[in-house]
Chain length 116, copies 2
DNA sequence: CTGACGTACAACCATGTGGTTGTACGTTAC
DNA sequence: GTAACGTACAACCACATGGTTGTACGTCAG
């Protein structure tokens, strides 16, 4: 499985891009089926230019790519980056789990739990 | 396992909060071990007030909680929200996988075990 | 060729964000 | 009680963001 490593700046961009309901919806849509920018724009109550900007933000974060097809620009999802973001959150859970394990070990060995 | 459902506004706040390297580092730190706000502040090359604001952002996103302990305010992680964010990204992968499955079905190619 | 469509991009505005400094307040140590 | 510590919060600044409108350009249909 392809899991690219993201540098901090790209992580910034990925999470920032996902911090907007419209952009999350665009990602969901193109995951189901690719769509041109205007096709996407028709789905939202905002100007075409606004949607175009949202797509640009997703593109800079490598969450989607655009592919010229005649006079249309078709938006595709970039699953690799989405997966990488998920892996990052998994890492947080690992740290937490590791800590719980260490605590259990300490409590098991030295009977340190004085307060609850 | 506790997995709270996040409303869109909270998802906005969670991802926005994670879109900053300092805040991600704070989350990592308190996942390993709780720390007071000043203890955290000592780790970064910025004013105490700046770190305090970062903690406030994480708190509004329910990624951490503060707990008064004497005159200190101890920052704890909120694993439930972190987990919920991970689940959200998993959902994207599910959509993608569902689409791949549908395409394979249409193509009549229902073999299993081929890698992508 | 012409007109309509899809796109790109600049200018502009309001608002939010990330940082600063300064001030105030409760709590602990002496 | 007083001093020092940990915190909270307001005011301020620079800059990014999310939206708008307007203009320009390439591409396809007629």
């Amino acid at each position: 499985m392809v899991v690219r490593q993201l540098d901090p700046d790209e992580v910034d961009r990925v999470f920032a891009a996902l911090a907007d309901a419209t952009r999350r919806d665009i990602v969901t849509r193109v995951l189901r089926r690719e769509a041109s920018v205007t096709a996407l724009a028709r789905s939202y109550e905002m100007s075409f230019a606004a949607v175009q900007k949202h797509v640009a933000v997703l593109e800079r974060a490598h969450l989607v790519t655009k592919q010229r097809q005649g006079r249309e620009q078709v938006v595709h999802p970039d699953v690799v980056t989405i997966r990488a973001a998920g892996r990052l959150l998994d890492r947080y859970e690992e740290i937490w789990r590791g800590r719980i394990d260490r605590m259990a070990e300490i409590l098991g060995d030295t009977r340190e739990g004085d307060d609850s």
